[in-house]
């Protein structure tokens, strides 16, 4: 269990801080997420995903649940703050990121800069679709379309890899 925290604590904490406005909320969320992870461990299937992606999925799910339940969403809408510490292009050079990251990076690289920005704001910074529209100046419908197309494309590519027998 402690090894789990050592390995994924930073990832889960960073996700929580990006999604939630309050530091106290984020701390609570991190603890809930790890409990969820330990309880869900038996459901992990290495044939379906890599371990790190499974962890990120559980964490994101719990954070979105908290936002829906009324937790204040983070969302400093100053674009210079939001985008100052994220790379200009997706990357999956690190071996510890799992195959899903490399597939996602390949899909994201094919998006135009506006679509990439939309994805980054929603997925990395946890902005709501409405917040993304406000930051980018894009119509809400365009924001939704960009995010949907990006994720559906990534899912299709992951599915194609699974069917081809390429394990995570």
């Amino acid at each position: 269990m402690r090894a789990c925290i050592d390995q994924y604590g930073a990832l889960v904490w960073s996700l929580a801080r990006r999604f939630l406005r309050s530091g106290a909320d984020a701390e609570d969320a991190v603890q809930e997420i790890f409990i969820d992870l330990w309880r869900s461990a038996g459901r992990f299937d290495p044939a379906v995903s890599s371990e790190v992606t499974f962890v990120a999925m559980i964490a994101r799910r719990r954070l979105i649940d908290r936002v829906r339940a009324g937790a204040n969403r983070a969302g400093d809408l100053d674009p210079s703050v939001l985008e100052s510490n994220t790379p200009a292009a997706p990357t999956a050079d690190r071996l510890d990121l799992g195959d899903e990251a490399s597939v996602a990076a390949a899909a994201l690289e094919r998006l135009d800069p506006q679509q990439q920005r939309t994805m980054r704001l929603a997925i990395v910074h946890g902005l709501s679709h409405e917040q993304v529209a406000k930051v980018t100046g894009l119509p809400l419908g365009t924001v939704k379309t960009n995010i949907r197309r990006g994720l559906i494309r990534i899912r299709e590519m992951l599915s194609a890899r699974t069917q081809a027998g390429v394990s995570p």
């Binding site: 269990m1 790890f34 499974f54 994101r60 990251a101 994720l151």
Partner: protein, 263 residues
């Protein structure tokens, strides 16, 4: 009994994919959640995995855990690992996870019997399965609560009452029993089976093993469900009595109760 919801699923598969993509990044409205309540866990998770993969691809660095939070987590980890086997513990019997295929902590966690207690930040103490059940009912929008019934033509297990609370979208649920006889784990255990219609015709395909559990005392007992395989669409839950450790396929010679999920 809570009336199960019967949402109209999206007729357009593209609409379903779009809503699942929305859900992976944004809380959905109640109307949208109702539309995708029929989506399988596999469909839902595949989109969530895509979003998780995108996050990992887009983020270069993560902030280290604050020291105080690290200490709290380590304490919770120690408590979780040391928690004694509660009166009711679910463990998959003959099917063991492929630990050789797993790495790091998940291999250790999967090998440990799941404790029924969990930490609750609001309560500041260990929450009970009944509290977890209530939390699921409060928070999930697609929970069905189905009472137990006598099983087929087998003599009814006298006086057993209770229900199954199950959320398809979360793959989470709880069994509740009143008056189920205590068992001697050295001689026999109760085993849960989940009939999943996405795996084929229910009468032809083995149900999903929901794990074994024990009843230590009479009265009301709540048992968390921990299905070891993803459940696409649960259509029934059933309990049998089996040898210690359970079985891979039940001969159904000792049926207990069944709960049929309404259409």
């Amino acid at each position: 009994m809570t009336t199960p919801r019967n949402p109209t699923p999206p007729h357009d598969p593209q609409r379903l994919r779009e809503l699942l993509a929305d859900q992976a990044t944004n809380p959905l409205s109640a109307a949208d959640r109702a539309e995708i309540a029929s989506a399988s866990q596999a469909e839902t998770e595949s989109m969530e995995l895509a979003a998780a993969g995108a996050h990992l691809a887009l983020v270069q660095n993560n902030d280290p855990l604050p020291d105080a939070l690290l200490v709290k987590l380590q304490k919770r980890a120690d408590e979780f690992a040391a928690a004694p086997a509660a009166p009711t513990v679910l463990r998959s019997p003959a099917r063991r996870p492929n630990l050789a295929a797993m790495t790091g902590w998940l291999a250790a966690a999967a090998a440990i019997a799941l404790a029924v207690y969990a930490w609750s930040p609001k309560l500041g103490r260990v929450s009970t399965p009944e509290e977890q059940r209530q939390a699921l009912i409060d928070r999930a929008t697609d929970v069905s609560v189905i009472p137990w019934s006598a099983w087929g033509d087998a003599p009814a297990v006298t006086g057993v009452l209770g229900d199954v609370a199950w959320s398809p979208s979360r793959g989470e649920g709880y069994l509740r029993f009143r008056n189920l006889s205590p068992n001697d784990p050295a001689k026999q255990q109760y085993q849960l089976w989940i009939v999943d219609s996405t795996r084929g015709e229910p009468l032809k395909v083995p149900p999903v093993d929901g794990g074994v559990f024990n009843i230590a005392a009479s009265g009301v007992v709540t048992v968390p469900i921990s299905a070891k395989l993803p459940v696409g669409k649960a259509v029934a839950f059933a309990v049998t009595v089996e040898p210690p450790g359970g079985v891979v396929v039940s001969d159904q010679s000792r049926k207990v109760v069944v709960a049929m999920v309404p259409n």
